[in-house]
Symmetry: C2
Subunit: 217 residues, 2 copies
């Protein structure tokens, strides 16, 4: 009733009756095995043993289907854990745990992003971060800003994960990308530039810089 087409909750199945949640269950399964391109109305209906048009009755069109699935992902992946004693540790732990969770399902996060529901995905983390920042003595406009800064770091890190190296069909090796002219008299830097960076190290580095700036202004 929140988003779908069916105006009344189907109730507990009257025999062989299909329900909205059963459709979303099956959709979720296809999404995780075949990927988002493998999820089709017809394929979903086939998996459920009904005509394609039955999907329209229970969840609406494809956009509504994706919205419903995004909502599930939000419920499943939005949770965060906090640990540590001082504010800096606790805030960092929220960011790191959320990042770790989301990195296990990058395609599901991409779906939420595609549906424009990232804000909803982050709402639990936002609440926790607000609490921690308040406890650390930060509030007002700078607290609101700080929360979003930390969360942007997380989602940016997840959306860009594994993006860095995928150079399709191109033979641009790192050796070609960087020449001695780019870093004269700095062979060590050149060496580091030509190797893929450790994404977790990068995240921790940036996070530390931001959290430090947030807590001690």
């Amino acid at each position: 009733m929140t988003t779908g087409a069916g105006q009344a909750a189907p109730g507990r199945g009257s025999g062989a009756g299909l329900s909205r949640s059963q459709v979303l269950d099956a959709g979720m399964e296809i999404l995780e095995t075949e990927g988002i391109d493998g999820l089709t109305i017809r394929g979903l209906a086939g998996k459920l043993g009904v005509a394609a048009t039955a999907i329209y009755w229970h969840v609406g069109d494809k956009h509504a289907l994706l919205d419903g699935l995004a909502e599930r992902v939000i419920g499943e992946l939005g949770a965060v854990s906090v640990r540590g004693r001082d504010p800096v540790t606790r805030i960092s732990s929220v960011a790191r745990s959320l990042r770790a969770t989301l990195l296990e399902r990058p395609d599901l996060v991409a779906l939420v992003h595609r549906q424009g529901r990232i804000a909803a995905l982050f709402q639990p983390a936002r609440r926790v971060l607000v609490r921690e920042l308040t406890a650390a003595g930060v509030d007002g406009a700078s607290a609101a800003l700080a929360v979003q800064a930390v969360l942007n770091l997380v989602i940016g890190s997840v959306l860009l994960d594994r993006q860095v190296e995928r150079q399709p069909t191109q033979r641009e090796t790192p050796e070609e990308l960087w020449s001695i002219a780019d870093a004269p008299d700095a062979p060590e830097l050149l060496e580091h530039l030509s190797h893929p960076i450790d994404e977790e190290e990068l995240f921790d580095y940036t996070l530390a810089a931001v959290v430090r700036a947030v807590v001690q202004p």
Copy 2:
């Protein structure tokens, strides 16, 4: 010859002969007017007055077409400008100018992201940042890390632009999202949380924190 299917460069048009670059030109036009979902092989062929199969000859299949278009975007949007005297100002100006350029065409950036070519898009900026950091006395592993940290901020900011508020079909108003329990005794914070944040201010805030951490370790 870099990516496409045609093995020899078509040369200058022999009369009515179609060329790879003409196809990409038309593709680019459709991309900017109709969006990525409006770009189809058949529609592209129709615009050029040829059969759909002619596209396959010149650029290959749809993936190759999108790759070719991404390559164009990389060439057009990758450039950066540097201004300012001190390192902090110059590094920040690179990040801000790149962000501003990319924000004008978020859908084109999304295409580059989709095709896994973000690294290529950022290569010019990387070169400039490496130079500036070296001049500022930063090098080795921390310079490589710092460059990527700044660039991740930029792309994250662009990919998330306008994502924050899009709450589709849902009636979750900010008033419902946040209750007094989330920020007890802090009405000012609550006020800020319920309003959409200024994305540019957020970017500048985070960028300043990172650049500061980078230049003065």
